[in-house]
Symmetry: D2
Subunit: 323 residues, 4 copies
């Protein structure tokens, strides 16, 4: 499954993990301003905002998992299997196929506010990308440095929720995640005060009892709580290295070591983790095999080009030899 | 605090995290065979096994936190404050100051079995390294590819426990940790079977429920359970890169992002994480700031030298630029 | 707050706890067949099924908390504050004031199936009983020996859910309760199998580890899990005494000792617990002060009467003196 | 298994639950002052303090599970299987067979202080009561209105621990129970304050979140935490009825409904629960089948008699019929 986080220091950082038992050939792709964005039901965008993110390329077209545009708008699609419901196109609406959402929003909107306005009249459809690829069941987090929202299409229709913790994982639907988060309202990074007994002081078992009660498994609700807790309480310097370092530590906090979470005969692992500086357009990622951040800088590409730039994932471990 | 783990694939790997709010200038130090090991109460060792590990240097002498010798014997000292009790030297015993334990064992023993035999008549003393440095309150894990033991000196005397999970954290004493681990006997990486009701099948909230019930905070007992679970269920290739990668993922599983665990006005973070291939003597470490493993190869040093080789920690983030 | 349970042995038993910090003068009331049932928007029922339950009497009219009719249909209203939404009467619908629901259903329906059919065209209104008594924010469990449903009116409208565990507590809405219940799918009354490690047998801390992981606080979701677990796994004889005894033990499992759950300056306690044999119409209750079941037998009343029979709660402790 | 609690209002109350899958014919037995107390290794007590409690009678001799003497000293033996170790008699010590502990202490000591003084030179032996009855593996809580202690004989020898929470259950040894209790230091009956995030207020899921985090299963450590929490936070009137009522509610909080805890093919249930007013010597008990307290008043017996008075348990449900 997956976890997405936004994090604000001096710049705004946005990224996610993708947990799965199998990889589909992810790469970092920069879509420049003149790369044509063609839609099933809407007019093509000839010139649009450039964006960078992780995608897999299918028939030459990047299908983005998460991306950030040159205005600092960020979006990621996360697994929402069993709850996501998309309908056929409806006359009189801005019909948008599920797989078109990210390029459409990032190509045309400069902020969450604009994205939300755009989505008000939109209708997410169940149109397939091609015959082999049924629509992925996803929900989305859309964020900029000011705010974050979650977009969900369920049996009850399309909903947009403000996301006060700037985090998204998978099932259940977002309102239930927030309800469950409330159960942990009393958690704190501080040593617990001794409140067990009104008449005596109980002895804590030792230092480091902060966050006691935090769930530790890898289910989606538990990762939601963990990511929210790590983000809300994160402490780091404001510079690039310190921010990126802290961001990856937060993702480590919800990452999956191989063997801890079995799905059938395989194991989910954190295939990749990403962190994009939404202000500079530098996109960092790590893979399960390679802990070292690899950086792709959107602004070092020709953003007026019409051809996406592709950087296949580096998956071999980088080691620095000291002797 | 800290977490130590041993992990066997084709080779045996041993390492640990060190969590604290302040660093003391750690570096990787190789102690070659002829570097003199001087002891307070025992004869000096003129020639001994070489070993490599993380130490801070005080008055020219490396005080090791964790180390591995050329025979593959591994040891680490972990915080045991409040429980560790050392006594003054006793006549008629092999008196060993607390800070001499690691060099003495690693210099002279080729296996856990030899270390245990050596320790049978030993007496760990409360002699201070110098006036500024009272004896650290520690307990120790000693491991090789065949077995692991834990050594604790408490009010009840010195005890050596077999450590079936090959893991050590901090308080409480090891037997209590193992008792507590038993509470989690029913955890599994697999999806839970529906056993709630004998007459109907309850619906699980979604895939990825493996390990449900695992604690997620950063207290020592919780890290013990998490490290043991990750290690017992670890799945990786047997090669060097895959083993080291898996090892650091296990350590990530017990690592502390800054902000989640407050101690007073500061925060514990995982200052460093290490992973040593006990068969080849290559020692890898990462720091909070630098995710990329830095490797020091003991066998690239002159092991017949009399001077320790020092490699101060690299603490700046390594980033690979793709464009 | 409250917990309601249905339990089937030879007969069907239905009851609930009511947890609050203050009592409103509850009593057991039998409404016989000719006691007029007057409704705000529907024609009065001159003759109807008789029913028995706990009510408080306001202006001579019993306002039922829970009741069972002579056909074995059972219903209880439970606090649903913050989620319950009732609307004004709507033309063209069977408008039913919130406080009329229990007498209306129990007076006219002989089964859950009939109740559900009746409710299909119904509309629960926000009409107040009187000026001093705004509509209580409730949701309802309706049960007979074959099935149970939950009725909720929220912002999303009126919904009827099948209730496979035959239990209801308070917030959150029923679908979220069931989702959360799924988190406990792996609980079992049996000793956990040792699945922690694929390569060794961990030692369980002792006998009696059944249900390990069951939450123990008194929040509504925790009581839901506890009540469902106790009910699904209940083992008892089929006779009256054994069934009633088991029923009260299940309610004890979700009951509140004074002091454990503070609300403001007061404490919630289990003001009363009830258990009605839906087949015989014998209604048992206990209060916080009086552990001994007090029984009122509906069929010992004149059920063709037009006047309710009232049995104010016995609240003093019954003790049997053996010497 | 079992749970014992002491509770002080105007008088001091002491009692326990006994959880098992099979009953051994318990009864309330008053041992008057002149009933001879014969010991294996010590001189018989011809006249001693009278005491009352639950016992099973074997060969005419009451073997007490829990009892209270006329001076207000209370004691109970609780299952400690796997940890209890008794040794053969030792020359030069006050040897006391395991089954003699309760009558010996209650017959001769007027306070915990006296009991502790007596025990200082004592040695608990493994002498069997008879050939069919090996020594039960127990540990003991000894309490009066001022203090409580726990007595344990393990491989490490005999230990007496002050018990600040006045509670005892079963395994693990008492120091480990207290260590584990410390994990719950931050629990409180109050609604949790919103400390999850330093920058925003998370919404709690509803009222009644006091005690959130309390374990709910029936294992010995969980019952220890639950009983301690209920006792430390108990709120009741000071009179007899209110105190006894509150006491039984605290015991309900750790009681076992049949079906929730399987041991082999059977189920543990709370066979009996007791509450003795240590100041007046009135002993109340309930059984799994009979919720109504049955009272035996020690002072209504001839305490100068030499014959124990026996009151076999009433096990049929008492119901008060209101019509």
């Amino acid at each position: 499954m997956c976890t997405a986080i936004g994090y604000l220091t001096e710049n705004f950082y946005f990224g996610r993990t993708l947990d799965n038992d199998v990889s589909y050939g992810e790469e970092v792709v920069v879509t420049p301003r003149r790369a044509p964005l063609v839609f099933r039901n809407l007019p093509a965008a000839e010139r649009h905002y450039a964006f960078i993110g992780t995608a897999c390329i299918s028939d030459g077209m990047p299908l983005y998992y998460d991306a950030v545009n040159e205005k600092g708008l960020c979006a990621a699609g996360l697994n929402f299997a069993g709850n996501a419901v998309y309908a056929p196109p409806q006359a009189g609406k801005k019909n948008l196929a599920q797989f078109e959402l990210l390029p459409c929003l990032l190509g045309s909107c400069a902020s969450v506010r604009q994205a939300v306005a755009f989505l008000r009249g939109a209708h997410i459809t169940n149109q397939a990308y091609n015959a082999d690829m049924p629509p992925a069941q996803l929900h989305w987090i859309i964020a900029d440095r000011r705010e974050a929202v979650v977009l969900e299409c369920t049996r009850g229709g399309m909903k947009i929720y403000p996301d006060p913790v700037g985090v998204l994982t998978n099932n259940p639907p977002f309102p239930v995640q927030m309800f469950k988060l409330g159960e942990f309202v009393g958690l704190s990074p501080r040593e617990p005060r001794s409140t067990f007994s009104p008449r005596m002081r109980l002895r804590s078992p030792g230092r480091g009892m902060g966050a006691y009660g935090l769930p530790g498994d890898l289910s989606s609700p538990s990762r939601f709580v963990r990511a929210a807790f790590a983000r809300e309480n994160a402490v780091s310097g404001a510079g690039e290295a310190e921010s990126v370092s802290q961001f990856f530590h937060m993702l480590d906090f919800v990452s999956q070591p191989r063997g801890c979470c079995a799905v059938g005969e395989k194991y989910e692992v954190t295939l990749y983790a990403s962190c994009c500086n939404a202000d500079t357009g530098v996109y960092y990622y790590t893979t399960y095999e390679n802990r070292t951040p690899v950086a792709v800088d959107m602004r070092r590409e020709d953003l007026e080009s019409s051809r996406p730039a592709r950087y296949p994932f580096v998956r071999t471990m980088t080691v620095v030899r000291a002797n």
